[in-house]
């Protein structure tokens, strides 16, 4: 149900039952199987996705032809290509289900209507984007401060659930190094 999105929004703003109904009418629910592609590079990015259950990842294809993961989204996270979503143009990323995943889909047109009909949603997304900007600053800091080995150790302590749920080669791809090197790091740090 879209209930979970409403619960999440109510951590930030109040929504009357009437407004909740408006919201529900504007969103879609979708399910994806493991490895299914939700959005392809080159498509117009019409939607932003809220993960209800499961895990998505965002990646792109490098000049050398490798998949490079840039983000994961677990439960209660939003994910999209925000540059392409904002301008409703072709996006430069893929979004794929890491596990079988249920999402709430909010498309650009519906969101603009929401902002008009429920001004409080403007506040909600202001806070969500603010958290994203903050997280990006922290991420930049860690990536510049630490060696690849330290990045892995820091990541595995900060987000142990990812180590459980996500295959190692995707972790490596996200952290910016090769599966081989990750393997070496793990051997050195076995506890």
């Amino acid at each position: 149900m879209s209930r979970q999105l409403i619960t999440h929004m109510e951590k930030f703003i109040k929504l009357s039952t009437e407004h909740q109904q408006v919201l529900i009418n504007y969103v879609k629910r979708e399910s994806y199987k493991k490895k299914e592609i939700i959005l392809s590079s080159g498509d117009v990015c019409r939607s932003t996705y809220f993960v209800v259950k499961g895990c998505l990842r965002m990646y792109f294809i490098t000049e050398k032809g490798l998949e490079q993961t840039t983000q994961f989204a677990l439960e209660n996270w939003w994910i999209s290509d925000y540059m392409a979503f904002t301008s409703q143009t072709a996006c430069g990323f893929y979004i794929q289900a890491v596990e079988s995943t249920e999402v709430v889909v909010l498309d650009h047109y519906a969101l603009e209507r929401l902002y008009q009909e429920i001004p409080a949603t403007e506040r909600y997304f202001r806070m969500i984007y603010q958290k994203m900007a903050a997280a990006a600053q922290q991420r930049t800091k860690y990536f510049q401060d630490f060696s690849k080995e330290e990045i892995y150790i820091h990541f595995s302590k900060s987000f142990p659930e990812f180590i459980q749920r996500v295959p190692q080669y995707l972790i490596a791809s996200y952290l910016g190094f090769t599966p081989e090197y990750l393997s070496e790091i793990r051997k050195k740090n076995l506890s």
Copy 2:
């Protein structure tokens, strides 16, 4: 004057002259000389800064004791440690003037009042943070896709004004490599 901030906001939202006055009463104007520190790591991050004229940079001190630049802010950009600003806690970055710089300062308390008194500001900042999130995604992509040499070439083409205004060792620090290596790249690519 704070006029420039209002002009910037009016690219995104409408403000009555009355609201403009409210805004002006909530912000401060400040000037900083070249190399002056605006915010220190460890301070509570009470404000967000809008650059009217000049250039600021954000950096932190690495474990090895080096200054690592994470962001620049030219005219019409906002800058702050958004994690620390949101929670009103000690920040992990420094903000320093690269040139002599004039800013509009908006502190946390004033901003909360603004959101209440002028709901449209919520929309404005939603859009600003959304742009930041989008920019962070693009930046992550470039940094993972390109070699350091390609990063420099891409950066110097995308933001030629930085190459003019900002000393090379700060560019190097921002792009994540040493001044020596930057020098080598420049020699190879002189046109």
